[in-house]
Protein backbone atom coordinates (compact mmCIF):
# COMPACT_ATOMS: atom_id res chain seq x y z
CA UNK A 1 0.00 0.00 0.00
CA UNK A 2 1.70 3.17 -1.12
CA UNK A 3 -1.22 5.50 -0.66
CA UNK A 4 0.01 8.77 0.78
CA UNK A 5 -1.77 10.91 3.28
CA UNK A 6 -1.97 14.66 3.13
CA UNK A 7 -1.16 15.51 6.74
CA UNK A 8 -1.29 19.22 6.11
CA UNK A 9 -4.89 18.97 4.93
CA UNK A 10 -5.85 16.84 7.93
CA UNK A 11 -4.20 19.30 10.25
CA UNK A 12 -6.13 22.19 8.73
CA UNK A 13 -9.32 20.21 8.77
CA UNK A 14 -9.07 19.46 12.48
CA UNK A 15 -9.39 23.15 13.40
CA UNK A 16 -6.44 22.85 15.74
CA UNK A 17 -4.52 25.55 14.00
CA UNK A 18 -7.17 28.10 14.92
CA UNK A 19 -6.87 27.22 18.59
CA UNK A 20 -3.09 27.28 18.47
CA UNK A 21 -3.15 30.61 16.65
CA UNK A 22 -5.41 32.17 19.24
CA UNK A 23 -3.12 30.70 21.88
CA UNK A 24 -0.19 32.45 20.20
CA UNK A 25 -2.06 35.71 19.81
CA UNK A 26 -3.61 35.93 23.24
CA UNK A 27 -0.95 34.37 25.40
CA UNK A 28 2.34 36.19 25.48
CA UNK A 29 5.57 34.27 26.05
CA UNK A 30 5.24 30.74 27.50
CA UNK A 31 7.30 29.27 24.65
CA UNK A 32 7.93 25.86 26.30
CA UNK A 33 4.24 25.52 27.11
CA UNK A 34 3.15 26.30 23.58
CA UNK A 35 5.72 23.89 22.22
CA UNK A 36 4.38 21.07 24.37
CA UNK A 37 0.78 21.85 23.45
CA UNK A 38 1.73 21.78 19.78
CA UNK A 39 3.36 18.38 20.28
CA UNK A 40 0.30 17.00 22.00
CA UNK A 41 -1.91 18.32 19.22
CA UNK A 42 0.35 16.70 16.61
CA UNK A 43 0.23 13.38 18.41
CA UNK A 44 -3.55 13.43 18.52
CA UNK A 45 -3.86 14.28 14.83
CA UNK A 46 -1.40 11.53 13.89
CA UNK A 47 -3.21 9.11 16.19
CA UNK A 48 -6.44 9.84 14.36
CA UNK A 49 -4.76 9.04 11.03
CA UNK A 50 -3.28 5.84 12.42
CA UNK A 51 -6.63 4.76 13.77
CA UNK A 52 -8.16 5.19 10.32
CA UNK A 53 -5.52 2.77 9.02
CA UNK A 54 -6.20 0.29 11.84
CA UNK A 55 -2.89 1.01 13.54
CA UNK A 56 -4.29 0.88 17.05
CA UNK A 57 -2.04 2.18 19.79
CA UNK A 58 -4.46 2.69 22.66
CA UNK A 59 -5.57 6.09 23.89
CA UNK A 60 -2.59 8.18 24.94
CA UNK A 61 -2.50 9.27 28.54
CA UNK A 62 -3.05 12.98 28.64
CA UNK A 63 -3.05 13.74 32.34
CA UNK A 64 -0.92 16.78 32.94
CA UNK A 65 0.66 18.76 35.67
CA UNK A 66 1.14 22.50 35.30
CA UNK A 67 3.73 23.97 37.61
CA UNK A 68 4.79 27.56 37.85
CA UNK A 69 4.72 30.69 39.92
CA UNK A 70 1.48 32.55 40.59
CA UNK A 71 0.01 34.38 37.63
CA UNK A 72 1.91 32.52 34.94
CA UNK A 73 -1.26 31.46 33.11
CA UNK A 74 -1.84 27.91 34.35
CA UNK A 75 -5.61 28.23 34.58
CA UNK A 76 -5.89 30.09 31.29
CA UNK A 77 -3.89 27.44 29.49
CA UNK A 78 -6.00 24.71 31.10
CA UNK A 79 -9.14 26.26 29.62
CA UNK A 80 -7.47 26.38 26.22
CA UNK A 81 -6.36 22.80 26.62
CA UNK A 82 -9.94 21.69 27.21
CA UNK A 83 -11.02 23.44 24.04
CA UNK A 84 -8.13 21.93 22.08
CA UNK A 85 -8.80 18.38 23.25
CA UNK A 86 -12.43 18.80 22.28
CA UNK A 87 -11.50 20.00 18.79
CA UNK A 88 -9.21 17.00 18.40
CA UNK A 89 -12.02 14.68 19.40
CA UNK A 90 -10.12 13.42 22.40
CA UNK A 91 -12.59 14.69 24.97
CA UNK A 92 -16.25 14.43 24.14
CA UNK A 93 -17.66 17.59 25.70
CA UNK A 94 -14.64 19.82 26.16
CA UNK A 95 -15.80 21.49 29.35
CA UNK A 96 -13.47 22.26 32.23
CA UNK A 97 -14.31 21.67 35.86
CA UNK A 98 -12.01 23.68 38.10
CA UNK A 99 -11.79 22.47 41.69
CA UNK A 100 -9.60 22.87 44.75
CA UNK A 101 -9.08 20.73 47.82
CA UNK A 102 -12.38 21.87 49.35
CA UNK A 103 -14.39 20.38 46.50
CA UNK A 104 -12.75 16.97 46.78
CA UNK A 105 -12.04 16.34 50.43
CA UNK A 106 -14.81 15.84 52.96
CA UNK A 107 -14.98 16.86 56.58
CA UNK A 108 -15.71 13.56 58.26
CA UNK A 109 -15.20 9.85 57.67
CA UNK A 110 -17.09 8.62 54.62
CA UNK A 111 -17.67 12.10 53.27
CA UNK A 112 -14.70 12.26 50.96
CA UNK A 113 -15.41 9.39 48.58
CA UNK A 114 -18.88 10.55 47.46
CA UNK A 115 -17.66 14.12 47.19
CA UNK A 116 -14.68 13.21 45.03
CA UNK A 117 -16.74 10.86 42.92
CA UNK A 118 -19.36 13.51 42.29
CA UNK A 119 -16.72 15.93 41.06
CA UNK A 120 -15.19 13.22 38.86
CA UNK A 121 -18.59 12.43 37.37
CA UNK A 122 -19.16 16.09 36.60
CA UNK A 123 -15.78 16.31 34.88
CA UNK A 124 -16.30 13.25 32.72
CA UNK A 125 -16.18 13.97 29.03
CA UNK A 126 -14.02 16.99 29.76
CA UNK A 127 -11.12 18.19 31.82
CA UNK A 128 -10.77 18.19 35.59
CA UNK A 129 -8.52 21.02 36.72
CA UNK A 130 -7.26 20.69 40.29
CA UNK A 131 -5.77 23.96 41.41
CA UNK A 132 -3.17 23.93 44.15
CA UNK A 133 -3.20 20.17 44.07
CA UNK A 134 -0.48 19.82 46.70
CA UNK A 135 -3.01 20.73 49.38
CA UNK A 136 -4.57 17.33 48.80
CA UNK A 137 -1.71 15.71 50.62
CA UNK A 138 -1.00 16.85 54.15
CA UNK A 139 1.76 14.69 55.60
CA UNK A 140 1.64 16.41 58.98
CA UNK A 141 -1.81 14.96 59.66
CA UNK A 142 -1.92 11.22 59.16
CA UNK A 143 -5.69 11.11 59.49
CA UNK A 144 -6.19 13.66 56.77
CA UNK A 145 -8.83 12.62 54.23
CA UNK A 146 -6.85 14.04 51.32
CA UNK A 147 -5.13 10.71 50.80
CA UNK A 148 -8.50 9.07 50.20
CA UNK A 149 -9.32 11.62 47.50
CA UNK A 150 -5.95 10.98 45.87
CA UNK A 151 -6.58 7.25 45.78
CA UNK A 152 -9.98 7.62 44.12
CA UNK A 153 -8.47 10.08 41.69
CA UNK A 154 -5.69 7.68 40.79
CA UNK A 155 -8.11 4.87 40.18
CA UNK A 156 -10.23 6.92 37.80
CA UNK A 157 -7.19 8.40 36.09
CA UNK A 158 -6.03 4.89 35.35
CA UNK A 159 -9.29 3.17 34.46
CA UNK A 160 -11.21 5.89 32.68
CA UNK A 161 -8.56 7.54 30.62
CA UNK A 162 -11.00 7.91 27.73
CA UNK A 163 -13.51 9.72 29.88
CA UNK A 164 -11.55 12.49 31.45
CA UNK A 165 -8.26 14.33 31.52
CA UNK A 166 -6.91 15.46 34.87
CA UNK A 167 -4.73 18.54 35.09
CA UNK A 168 -2.99 19.26 38.38
CA UNK A 169 -1.66 22.73 38.94
CA UNK A 170 0.41 24.42 41.59
CA UNK A 171 3.62 26.12 42.52
CA UNK A 172 6.71 24.30 41.37
CA UNK A 173 8.49 23.50 44.62
CA UNK A 174 5.37 22.38 46.47
CA UNK A 175 4.22 20.26 43.56
CA UNK A 176 7.61 18.58 43.49
CA UNK A 177 7.22 17.59 47.14
CA UNK A 178 3.69 16.44 46.41
CA UNK A 179 4.83 14.18 43.58
CA UNK A 180 7.74 12.88 45.63
CA UNK A 181 5.40 11.72 48.36
CA UNK A 182 2.84 10.36 45.84
CA UNK A 183 4.92 8.44 43.31
CA UNK A 184 1.76 6.79 41.97
CA UNK A 185 0.42 10.18 41.00
CA UNK A 186 3.66 11.26 39.38
CA UNK A 187 3.93 8.15 37.25
CA UNK A 188 0.37 8.45 35.99
CA UNK A 189 0.94 11.93 34.69
CA UNK A 190 2.59 11.88 31.31
CA UNK A 191 3.10 15.57 30.82
CA UNK A 192 4.83 17.71 33.38
CA UNK A 193 4.76 21.23 32.00
CA UNK A 194 6.63 24.00 33.73
CA UNK A 195 5.43 27.58 33.26
CA UNK A 196 8.34 30.01 33.25
CA UNK A 197 8.12 33.47 34.79
CA UNK A 198 7.43 36.27 32.35
CA UNK A 199 10.14 38.68 31.37
CA UNK A 200 9.49 42.38 31.96
CA UNK A 201 8.76 43.21 28.34
CA UNK A 202 6.38 40.27 28.16
CA UNK A 203 4.50 41.63 31.15
CA UNK A 204 4.22 45.04 29.46
CA UNK A 205 2.83 43.31 26.39
CA UNK A 206 0.36 41.40 28.58
CA UNK A 207 -0.67 44.68 30.20
CA UNK A 208 -1.30 46.23 26.82
CA UNK A 209 -3.35 43.22 25.78
CA UNK A 210 -5.46 43.42 28.94
CA UNK A 211 -6.03 47.13 28.39
CA UNK A 212 -7.02 46.49 24.81
CA UNK A 213 -9.65 44.08 26.07
CA UNK A 214 -11.01 46.82 28.32
CA UNK A 215 -10.84 49.43 25.50
CA UNK A 216 -8.05 51.40 27.10
CA UNK A 217 -4.57 52.23 25.94
CA UNK A 218 -1.35 53.51 27.43
CA UNK A 219 0.04 56.83 26.29
CA UNK A 220 3.68 56.52 25.15
CA UNK A 221 4.90 58.06 28.40
CA UNK A 222 2.64 55.81 30.41
CA UNK A 223 4.03 52.78 28.58
CA UNK A 224 7.53 53.73 29.68
CA UNK A 225 6.34 54.33 33.23
CA UNK A 226 4.60 51.00 33.20
CA UNK A 227 7.84 49.29 32.19
CA UNK A 228 9.53 50.89 35.20
CA UNK A 229 6.63 49.93 37.39
CA UNK A 230 6.95 46.25 36.49
CA UNK A 231 10.68 46.21 37.07
CA UNK A 232 10.10 47.69 40.52
CA UNK A 233 7.09 45.58 41.34
CA UNK A 234 9.05 42.41 40.61
CA UNK A 235 11.48 43.23 43.42
CA UNK A 236 8.68 43.46 45.94
CA UNK A 237 7.12 40.53 47.82
CA UNK A 238 3.99 38.76 46.52
CA UNK A 239 4.77 39.42 42.91
CA UNK A 240 2.29 37.39 40.88
CA UNK A 241 3.31 37.94 37.25
CA UNK A 242 0.29 38.62 35.02
CA UNK A 243 -2.04 38.84 37.99
CA UNK A 244 0.00 41.70 39.46
CA UNK A 245 -0.11 43.42 36.11
CA UNK A 246 -3.83 43.09 36.01
CA UNK A 247 -4.26 44.45 39.51
CA UNK A 248 -1.94 47.35 38.78
CA UNK A 249 -3.99 48.24 35.72
CA UNK A 250 -7.18 47.99 37.72
CA UNK A 251 -5.81 50.57 40.09
CA UNK A 252 -4.56 52.74 37.23
CA UNK A 253 -8.10 52.77 35.91
CA UNK A 254 -9.34 54.09 39.25
CA UNK A 255 -6.74 56.83 39.24
CA UNK A 256 -7.57 57.74 35.66
CA UNK A 257 -11.24 58.07 36.51
CA UNK A 258 -10.41 60.18 39.51
CA UNK A 259 -8.04 62.38 37.50
CA UNK A 260 -10.65 62.97 34.80
CA UNK A 261 -13.27 64.02 37.33
CA UNK A 262 -10.88 66.26 39.25
CA UNK A 263 -9.65 68.03 36.14
CA UNK A 264 -13.11 69.53 35.51
CA UNK A 265 -12.34 69.87 31.82
CA UNK A 266 -14.48 68.79 28.96
CA UNK A 267 -13.08 65.48 27.80
CA UNK A 268 -13.18 63.57 24.56
CA UNK A 269 -13.31 59.90 23.74
CA UNK A 270 -9.55 59.62 23.50
CA UNK A 271 -9.12 60.93 27.03
CA UNK A 272 -11.53 58.34 28.33
CA UNK A 273 -9.50 55.63 26.66
CA UNK A 274 -6.02 56.76 27.59
CA UNK A 275 -4.12 55.96 30.73
CA UNK A 276 -1.51 58.65 31.31
CA UNK A 277 1.86 58.32 32.99
CA UNK A 278 0.67 60.01 36.17
CA UNK A 279 -1.99 57.33 36.66
CA UNK A 280 0.81 54.82 36.98
CA UNK A 281 3.40 56.98 38.68
CA UNK A 282 1.08 57.65 41.61
CA UNK A 283 1.31 54.02 42.61
CA UNK A 284 2.78 53.12 45.98
CA UNK A 285 5.31 50.97 44.19
CA UNK A 286 6.56 53.98 42.27
CA UNK A 287 6.83 56.30 45.27
CA UNK A 288 10.62 56.22 45.54
CA UNK A 289 11.10 56.47 41.81
CA UNK A 290 9.36 59.83 41.71
CA UNK A 291 11.89 61.36 44.07
CA UNK A 292 14.83 59.89 42.23
CA UNK A 293 13.38 61.09 38.96
CA UNK A 294 13.03 64.59 40.37
CA UNK A 295 16.52 64.47 41.74
CA UNK A 296 18.00 63.43 38.47
CA UNK A 297 15.98 66.11 36.73
CA UNK A 298 17.31 68.71 39.05
Amino acid sequence: MSETIDLKALWNESGVQAVLDSLDAELIGLAPVKKRIREIASLLVIDKVRRDLQLEAGAPSLHMSFTGNPGTGKTTVAFRMAELLHKLGYSRKGHLVAVTRDDLVGQYIGHTAPKTKEVLKKAMGGVLFIDEAYYLYKPENERDYGQEAIEILLQVMENQRDDLVVILAGYKDRMDTFFKSNPGMSSRIAHHIDFPDYRNEELVAIGELILKGWNYQLSPRAARAFGDYIARRREQPHFANARSVRNALDRARLRQAHRLLESNNAIDKAALQTIEAEDILQSRVMAPVETTAKESAR
Binding site: R92, K93, E118, K121, K122, M124, G125, G126, D163
Partner: protein, 144 residues
Protein backbone atom coordinates in the same frame (compact mmCIF):
# COMPACT_ATOMS: atom_id res chain seq x y z
CA UNK B 1 -50.19 -5.69 31.06
CA UNK B 2 -47.55 -5.82 33.77
CA UNK B 3 -45.42 -8.55 32.27
CA UNK B 4 -44.96 -10.02 28.83
CA UNK B 5 -46.10 -13.59 28.30
CA UNK B 6 -42.76 -14.93 29.54
CA UNK B 7 -43.17 -13.06 32.85
CA UNK B 8 -40.77 -10.29 31.84
CA UNK B 9 -41.61 -7.16 33.80
CA UNK B 10 -42.82 -4.31 31.60
CA UNK B 11 -42.44 -0.96 33.27
CA UNK B 12 -41.28 2.35 31.91
CA UNK B 13 -39.81 2.80 28.48
CA UNK B 14 -38.33 0.19 26.18
CA UNK B 15 -39.50 -2.70 28.35
CA UNK B 16 -40.92 -4.69 25.43
CA UNK B 17 -37.56 -4.48 23.68
CA UNK B 18 -34.58 -6.72 24.32
CA UNK B 19 -32.23 -5.55 27.08
CA UNK B 20 -30.55 -2.25 26.27
CA UNK B 21 -26.83 -2.47 25.68
CA UNK B 22 -24.50 -0.07 27.43
CA UNK B 23 -24.05 1.86 24.20
CA UNK B 24 -27.82 2.26 23.88
CA UNK B 25 -28.14 3.31 27.51
CA UNK B 26 -25.42 5.89 26.90
CA UNK B 27 -27.41 7.32 24.01
CA UNK B 28 -30.53 7.54 26.15
CA UNK B 29 -28.65 9.29 28.96
CA UNK B 30 -27.16 11.63 26.41
CA UNK B 31 -30.70 12.55 25.36
CA UNK B 32 -31.69 13.29 28.95
CA UNK B 33 -28.56 15.38 29.57
CA UNK B 34 -29.22 17.38 26.41
CA UNK B 35 -32.52 18.42 27.95
CA UNK B 36 -30.81 19.19 31.25
CA UNK B 37 -32.77 16.60 33.15
CA UNK B 38 -31.10 15.15 36.20
CA UNK B 39 -30.56 11.45 35.95
CA UNK B 40 -30.85 9.07 38.88
CA UNK B 41 -30.31 5.36 39.40
CA UNK B 42 -32.86 3.40 41.47
CA UNK B 43 -33.24 -0.24 42.47
CA UNK B 44 -35.83 -2.48 44.08
CA UNK B 45 -36.75 -6.10 44.55
CA UNK B 46 -40.46 -5.37 44.81
CA UNK B 47 -41.53 -4.67 41.25
CA UNK B 48 -45.27 -4.26 41.94
CA UNK B 49 -46.57 -1.62 39.53
CA UNK B 50 -47.90 0.46 42.43
CA UNK B 51 -44.49 0.49 44.08
CA UNK B 52 -43.63 3.88 42.63
CA UNK B 53 -40.76 4.85 44.85
CA UNK B 54 -37.75 2.64 44.42
CA UNK B 55 -34.59 2.92 46.48
CA UNK B 56 -32.18 5.54 45.20
CA UNK B 57 -28.66 4.42 44.48
CA UNK B 58 -26.72 7.51 45.52
CA UNK B 59 -28.05 10.96 44.87
CA UNK B 60 -29.62 12.06 41.62
CA UNK B 61 -26.84 13.44 39.46
CA UNK B 62 -27.06 17.14 38.71
CA UNK B 63 -24.87 19.25 36.43
CA UNK B 64 -23.33 16.35 34.57
CA UNK B 65 -22.18 16.92 31.02
CA UNK B 66 -21.32 13.43 29.90
CA UNK B 67 -23.06 10.04 30.24
CA UNK B 68 -19.86 8.26 31.31
CA UNK B 69 -20.36 9.29 34.93
CA UNK B 70 -23.89 7.91 35.03
CA UNK B 71 -22.95 4.69 33.30
CA UNK B 72 -20.29 4.28 35.97
CA UNK B 73 -22.98 4.53 38.67
CA UNK B 74 -25.24 2.11 36.81
CA UNK B 75 -22.44 -0.43 36.68
CA UNK B 76 -21.63 0.10 40.35
CA UNK B 77 -25.28 -0.50 41.16
CA UNK B 78 -25.34 -3.63 39.00
CA UNK B 79 -22.32 -4.90 40.87
CA UNK B 80 -23.95 -4.24 44.24
CA UNK B 81 -27.41 -5.56 43.28
CA UNK B 82 -26.88 -8.03 40.46
CA UNK B 83 -30.27 -9.64 41.09
CA UNK B 84 -32.47 -6.59 41.57
CA UNK B 85 -34.44 -4.46 39.21
CA UNK B 86 -32.49 -1.31 38.40
CA UNK B 87 -33.96 1.61 36.54
CA UNK B 88 -32.68 4.92 35.30
CA UNK B 89 -34.91 7.95 35.70
CA UNK B 90 -34.54 11.43 34.29
CA UNK B 91 -36.15 14.21 36.27
CA UNK B 92 -37.21 17.42 34.62
CA UNK B 93 -36.97 20.23 37.16
CA UNK B 94 -38.57 22.86 34.92
CA UNK B 95 -41.11 24.90 36.83
CA UNK B 96 -44.55 23.47 36.20
CA UNK B 97 -43.25 20.09 35.07
CA UNK B 98 -41.20 18.90 38.04
CA UNK B 99 -41.62 15.24 37.33
CA UNK B 100 -39.76 12.33 35.78
CA UNK B 101 -39.59 12.45 32.01
CA UNK B 102 -37.85 9.15 31.41
CA UNK B 103 -37.70 5.85 33.23
CA UNK B 104 -36.34 2.57 31.93
CA UNK B 105 -35.12 -0.70 33.37
CA UNK B 106 -31.42 -1.44 32.90
CA UNK B 107 -31.05 -4.55 35.03
CA UNK B 108 -33.41 -7.37 36.02
CA UNK B 109 -33.17 -10.59 38.02
CA UNK B 110 -32.16 -13.74 36.19
CA UNK B 111 -35.48 -15.43 36.92
CA UNK B 112 -38.68 -13.43 37.07
CA UNK B 113 -41.56 -15.44 38.52
CA UNK B 114 -44.13 -12.82 37.56
CA UNK B 115 -47.41 -11.93 39.26
CA UNK B 116 -50.37 -13.91 40.48
CA UNK B 117 -53.96 -12.74 40.49
CA UNK B 118 -55.74 -13.12 43.82
CA UNK B 119 -59.56 -13.07 43.88
CA UNK B 120 -61.23 -12.08 47.10
CA UNK B 121 -64.93 -12.78 47.41
CA UNK B 122 -66.73 -9.98 49.18
CA UNK B 123 -70.35 -9.00 49.85
CA UNK B 124 -72.92 -10.06 47.34
CA UNK B 125 -70.60 -12.35 45.44
CA UNK B 126 -68.55 -9.38 44.30
CA UNK B 127 -64.94 -10.08 43.57
CA UNK B 128 -61.94 -7.89 44.37
CA UNK B 129 -58.76 -8.51 42.46
CA UNK B 130 -55.24 -8.16 43.80
CA UNK B 131 -52.01 -8.48 41.89
CA UNK B 132 -49.33 -10.18 43.88
CA UNK B 133 -45.70 -10.72 42.97
CA UNK B 134 -44.67 -14.31 43.68
CA UNK B 135 -41.22 -13.10 44.58
CA UNK B 136 -42.57 -10.74 47.27
CA UNK B 137 -43.50 -13.62 49.57
CA UNK B 138 -39.91 -13.89 50.64
CA UNK B 139 -38.28 -11.22 52.81
CA UNK B 140 -36.57 -8.27 51.25
CA UNK B 141 -33.13 -9.06 49.83
CA UNK B 142 -33.90 -12.77 49.30
CA UNK B 143 -36.54 -12.41 46.67
CA UNK B 144 -34.61 -13.16 43.55
Amino acid sequence: MITTSNQRLTQGQFSFLPELTDAQITRQIEYALQHEWSVGVEYTDDPHPRNTYWEMYGNPMFDLKDPAGILLEINNCRKTFPNHYIRVTAFDATRGVESPKMSYIVNRPKAEPGFGLIRQEVDGRNIRYTIHSYAADKPEGERY
